[in-house]
Symmetry: D2
Subunit: 135 residues, 4 copies
């Protein structure tokens, strides 16, 4: 399996009046994890878009176990459980705080589409070849 | 069942470079739907917090079917499928655009906790009594 | 002078751990005020973009006098002190809470540019003609 | 003068449909710059809050010269032009992209207040002593 980790520090703006990270902001952390996973593979999501392919999110499932706090340094663990076989790709994410506690888990399903026609397409061949080595 | 609707206009800040609403922002629209659902019942989430009870989100499940665009007027339909029987409450949300197209569905599970001890608690009795009439 | 008002209710997501609206979020409220001011004039910023003109913000000046709180209903008063004479347009904004207290003032300068070339351009003639009646 | 730099990568969520970073999000970048400036001094804003002192923003002035783009690595240069002499503190910020181009400048004035009474207070003595060496 292809797994990468990256870290992010919680910003003041990301907290809410409950004193913890607003639940909607975990989508941003998952995004950071995916972006860095792709970069770790040797590519960039930015370049993918420039090449004419977009990856809109089609499903997001999140479980919130423990709150993240302001200034926490979070570790985002991003895993690709299965090699994509069609236009969909599903990532699994786990977010831990600096004490090693699991705070949040996420499943994010994205779709490869062509920017101009918005038609479904597949993962680029070179991405697939590079990923294949992990499975 | 208890169902309410409210509307929200998409802000420029809520779009991303794909030209559509950033997927993470739907959590905010669901929140608006729940807030107005509670207000429609005759209560306010703000008053609940003042009384010492918080409702953190513990699960969020979203399916993104079609994109919302800048300046769209979205209708958020919020339903409480079941009367809560313990410390958890689950809302179902549907978001439609001004053409009546279903854009997004969401399931949000929240937990009633006491603000001071962070211990689980139940929905206030008066909320429960008022809701009971809908089931 | 051209002056319009609109209202917005503070979202939970817009607060921070200080228990008040995060200062960066007032830029969004000012944006709502401008959008509704343009709509009040009979146009829409969305249509302007569709016609090939963008209005990026080039300056933002904000003074924060009193905090806005969760669930507050804010009144955003948007004024165009002067009729634009070149590619720039400056709005003045004042935000009041439901008790009529002035919370925040803002000066926002935007620039008219062509979407394709990113060159400066002027306000559309029909906007200018319609506005002229207010000065 | 006390000057520090830190970097931040632009998130997808921070862009808008104009294809650039939404202007309101620079407030978050300035905040990151200040937070890291304080950490560089040997303290933390989080600890300051724990000790009972808050620093709400009272003024924000921003000039937007060039747009920041998705995935850009921005350098935030944060300077304290003057040693505070009362309850106010003013930071100057400059944001550069990876090509070294100046994108945005900001002036942010904050106020030291006591969390419990919301009364004005001064910068902690140990912060002041440590900063004094830079002036």
């Amino acid at each position: 399996m292809f797994t990468t980790t990256t870290t992010v520090r919680v910003r003041y703006a990301e907290t809410d009046k409950m004193g913890v990270v607003y639940h909607g902001n975990y989508a941003l952390y998952f995004e950071i994890g995916r972006t860095e996973a792709i970069r770790h593979l040797g590519y960039s999501y930015k370049d993918l878009e420039t090449s004419g392919i977009l990856m809109p999110v089609v499903e997001l499932h999140t479980k919130f176990l423990r709150p993240a706090l302001y200034d926490d340094v979070l570790t985002i663990k991003t895993t690709l459980p299965l090699l994509p076989t069609n236009h969909l790709i599903a990532f699994h994410s786990e977010i831990y705080n600096q004490a090693g506690k699991l705070l949040t888990t996420g499943e994010v399903v994205l779709c490869f589409i062509k920017a101009d026609t918005r038609q479904k397409t597949n993962m680029p061949d070179d991405w697939l070849e590079k990923l294949a080595g992990y499975y």
